[in-house]
Amino acid sequence: MAAEAFGIADGNAPLAGDLLEEFQRGRSAAWYWRQTFIAIATGRCRSAWVTRRYLGAFSIGYAAQACVAFILWRNSWPPILHGIALTTLAVVMAILLLGTLSRRLWRTRDRKDPGSGLPKMESFLEFTFLAVTAFGAYLVAYCLAALLWRQSLGEWAFTESIWFWGFIVPDLTRPRRQPRRGR
């Protein structure tokens, strides 16, 4: 089925089932293909809209990393490197912990009262969490690499790109959340 070929059915099997059900009830082949292509198109648009938030978060994190990397390089790093590495590591660990706890807390409250506007807060926390994690993870890796292997900025820029796209590309193809089974 076309919806499966384009990967839409993977995240939305009920939609693929609905299309098949309607076709078997006597809808025309033209109707079926028209509906399938609309489903593919809207599925792709929807997916892009959802991942926009993640792309935004990683882009901000990436830009911040580039600025810090440049400052460290301009200041010839060594005297300040140890302090920055340790402080950053501590901050990142704290943010990881707080971010995870906050998300769990908001999700629990959100289930109890979905109308309280908390989903907005959850999105904000998630965005901040991703941006800061992207920033912090790179910075820690950057400092460690500089300490252990004494890499140059040029070499690091290459590995940094791999890291960045390694995060972004899998996120674009991330499967959507499935509803729970019941009833």
Binding site: A16, L19, L20, Q35, R181, G182
Partner: protein
């Protein structure tokens, strides 16, 4: 500027269809309900896109039913409106009715 959680025309139609269908609301029945009332063909993909948005806003919830052979072994996804969704529909109704009231050009079904 519109509120983040405000309802679009199609979203409102989907919510009203959910209320009318009760426990039997899934993609096919929802699209048929809207088609029956509006007289226009409705794309199932658009219905699901609207339902996903409404679920994110907390206006609807969904559950998967059991897979059936007639659907190629795929389960139905049943939707129902939440209390928050009901409040939002009532609010949309209130706003539309107040806007409609006192418009001589629209009285008696004449446009």
């Amino acid at each position: 500027m519109p509120r983040h959680n405000s309802l679009g025309e199609f979203e409102l139609m989907v919510l009203l269809a959910l209320i009318r269908l009760g426990d039997d609301a899934y993609g096919v029945t929802i699209s048929r309900e809207i088609e029956g009332c509006s007289g226009r063909e409705v794309a199932l993909g658009s219905v699901y896109a609207a339902l996903d948005r409404l679920e994110e806003k907390g206006f609807v919830r969904s559950k998967l039913g059991d897979p059936t052979a007639s659907r190629g072994g795929r389960a139905k996804r049943y939707f129902h409106i939440t209390q928050h969704g009901l409040r939002e529909v009532r609010e949309a109704q209130r706003v539309l009715v107040s806007l409609w009231r006192g418009l001589p050009a629209l009285e008696g079904g004449k446009a």
